[in-house]
């Protein structure tokens, strides 16, 4: 059955057919989506946009094509989603403008509509990108202009549909990004589907018309402004069935744990039982696995049976989801570091990761690496101050040798800087307990320095040569206990030296002992030390931290 005129009934059928076709092919269109943002939702967006238009047409009681086209344009405008949806709404806006007032359309009207549709679509953008849906509608309209005078609407629509397909094929060549991937433009494909459906409908060819009205959920999604919110953030972390995104790469046949030959199907089947979103890709040497599972360990063990693990990556998706919901921006690439302005920068000189971490946990914003054997230069300190981008700075030298450099740095720094004269790491930590970021700089300094005298700091280190200092004889490689800068005890045994040193530091008022063990000591030795100290005074509170500092196996503070 061929038709020479499009009446309102015919128009309704065309829209219905187009909407159904688009719905059926939404996934396919999604898969083509690489431009402008490859998020794979062009098909979905076009489908929902057109569905909204179709809904308006279905609800319209009009019996003229002009009015129905108007309803369609309105519905598309209201439901427009995504770039392609917006363009689609413009195409039909132009079309509606052209056919306004017409009860039926003949070939000439249809042609005029297509030409106007193209014009409107192009006019809404400053620099039209060729190789998109725009190219497709333009190709269709150009063909129409050439042939409309000789054809009826059904034949014209067929010709237009073919021209649209041709134009669509060109999109791959027109847009570099499409050529790279070797696909046609997804939005253009969507429009080609629509025109094809129009042609099929007009020519009485079978169009698989499912029930194409959007279900209530889709409709809600379109109308509700909330649809702009990412769907992802709607997912409750607890609703994620499999919590760990696990990815491994296995070198087949390598390693000690190999128990079996790699065979794709059994390998795949076992993993399929462990979770979903399974992807297994292999060649002769390597098999890559991606799976969402509750048991990443089982996946690893399974992989190890056929080879060794070249790479392993396990992400807790529930945690990621929580982060998304919390609008956390931790998803930035790890290497990206953007300066974080603090109002007040607290800069501590310290060595050892653990000490740095301890300081950070106390509120220190920047650490300058340095200490007894490698004092930072004035320039290092100035750089740290200026790079902090804060409004003011507090410096904890944690070593009397650095006081001068710090004073110099404070003078030339861009921002007001004060120095809290901490001589040792433990003093620095005690000082941080009194740090009040909201106070005035001078008050911060006096508050932080106020308690320093109550803290005794002990450091244990190894003598590098024979010497005599403060009436203490020291042999090379002996351990020395230094209390507030004075060598107090020596011993060839590290624990003995430390125990004696702590004993010398304790007095009646002592309440708390903090032990920070560094390189050259370990937790077991620290525990031994703690036991020794407990024997001296069992009422003491003793804390042990890992400081990982060089040179000093033990740093001890007594308060």
């Amino acid at each position: 059955m061929s038709v020479t005129e499009i009446d309102s009934n015919q128009f309704r059928k065309m829209i219905k057919a187009a909407s159904a076709t688009l719905k059926n092919n939404a996934d396919f269109v999604n898969s083509l989506n690489v431009f402008p943002v490859p998020d794979g939702d062009t098909g979905t967006n076009m489908n929902l946009s057109l569905a909204s238009g179709a809904k308006y047409v279905a609800n319209s009681g009009a019996d003229s094509v002009g009015d129905l086209a108007e309803a369609l344009a309105k519905g598309l405008l209201m439901g427009a989603r995504g770039n392609s949806g917006v363009i689609l709404s413009q195409i039909f806006r132009g079309f509606a403008k052209s056919v306004a007032g017409k009860r039926v359309l003949d070939a000439r009207d249809l042609n005029d509509g297509l030409v106007e549709a193209t014009k409107t679509a192009y006019s809404s953008v400053m620099k039209p990108t060729e190789g998109t849906i725009l190219t497709v509608i333009r190709g269709a309209a150009e063909k129409s202009r050439q042939v409309y005078s000789e054809l009826d609407v059904a034949a014209l629509m067929d010709a237009v549909s073919v021209a649209a397909d041709d134009a669509l094929k060109q999109t791959t060549e027109l847009l570099p990004v499409l050529k790279q991937v070797g696909v046609v433009d997804s939005g253009g494909q969507g429009l080609a589907f629509i025109l094809k459906a129009f042609a099929d409908s007009l020519n009485g060819r079978e169009v698989s018309i499912e029930k194409n009205e959007p279900d209530s959920q889709e409709m809600d999604e379109m109308i509700d402004a909330k649809h702009h919110k990412s769907v992802q953030s709607e997912i409750n972390p607890e609703d994620i069935k499999y919590g760990y995104c696990t990815q491994i790469m296995v070198r087949i046949g390598h390693g000690k744990e190999v128990e079996r030959k790699f065979e794709y199907q059994p390998f795949y089947d076992y993993l399929a039982k462990l979770g979903d979103s399974l992807l297994v890709v292999n060649d002769d040497e390597i098999v890559k696995v991606h799976v969402h599972t509750e048991h990443p360990g089982k996946v690893l063990a399974w992989g190890q049976q056929v080879g060794d693990l070249a790479t392993v990556k396990v992400d807790n998706m529930r945690l990621q989801q929580e982060d998304i919901i919390n609008q956390d921006t931790d998803d930035q690439p790890a290497e990206q570091e953007i300066e974080r302005p603090n109002d007040t920068a607290v800069i501590a000189v310290a060595s050892g990761d653990g000490i740095g971490t301890l300081f950070n946990s106390l509120g220190v914003t920047d650490i300058i690496s340095g200490g007894q054997t490698m004092n930072p230069s004035t320039q290092d300190i100035v750089d740290a101050i200026n790079n902090s981008h804060a409004n003011r700075a507090v410096i904890l030298p944690n070593n009397s040798n650095i006081f001068l450099a710090a004073e110099q740095a404070a003078k030339v720094a861009d921002i007001p800087t004060t120095i809290v004269h901490t001589k040792t790491i433990p003093q620095g930590m005690t000082a941080m307990l009194e740090y009040d970021p909201s106070a005035k700089l001078a008050d911060i300094k006096s508050a932080m320095e106020a308690n320093l005298d109550y803290v005794k700091s002990g450091e244990v280190t190894r003598a590098v040569r024979d010497t005599e200092l403060d009436q203490v004889h020291i042999k090379k490689n002996q351990f020395m206990g230094i209390v507030d800068g004075n060598i107090t005890v020596t011993s060839s045994n590290m624990i003995d030296a430390t125990t004696q040193m702590v004993a010398a530091m304790l007095d009646e008022d002592s309440e708390a002992v903090t032990i920070i063990y560094g390189q050259g000591a370990n937790e077991r030795e620290s525990q031994k030390l703690k036991d020794n100290i407990m024997k001296i005074d069992e009422d003491l509170e003793i804390e042990i931290h890992e400081g990982n500092q060089p040179v000093y196996p033990f740093l001890v503070s007594v308060e």
Partner: protein, 120 residues
Amino acid sequence: MAVKIKTKYGVVDISSDVISSVVGSATTDNYGVVGMASKNQLRDNVNSILKNDNYSKGVVVRQENSGIAIEVNIIVSYGTKISEVCRNVQSKVKYNLETMLGITANTVNVVVQGVQVLND
């Protein structure tokens, strides 16, 4: 103001002009955006559409705690769904910043400074 990116070979500084250009181009690529508008219309005189080389006048880049905040000023075409055009701008700007510069924008605020009505 510049964004610093640390790599194992050193530091990369990206000036806000670069960011503005990327943001501006990403914005005007979007269907329905007729052009960029100046962020300071009074000072820069009327709501003229900005040319390629002064996109930066229409883009504000602000440093925030853990990323950057972008503001783009645009003029849109009459008859488009403005909210959707803006949303497209947001996602494209964010996407281009991430792919081209490796910068994550915390927020992309779109200010519609004008609507261009076309002569029929």
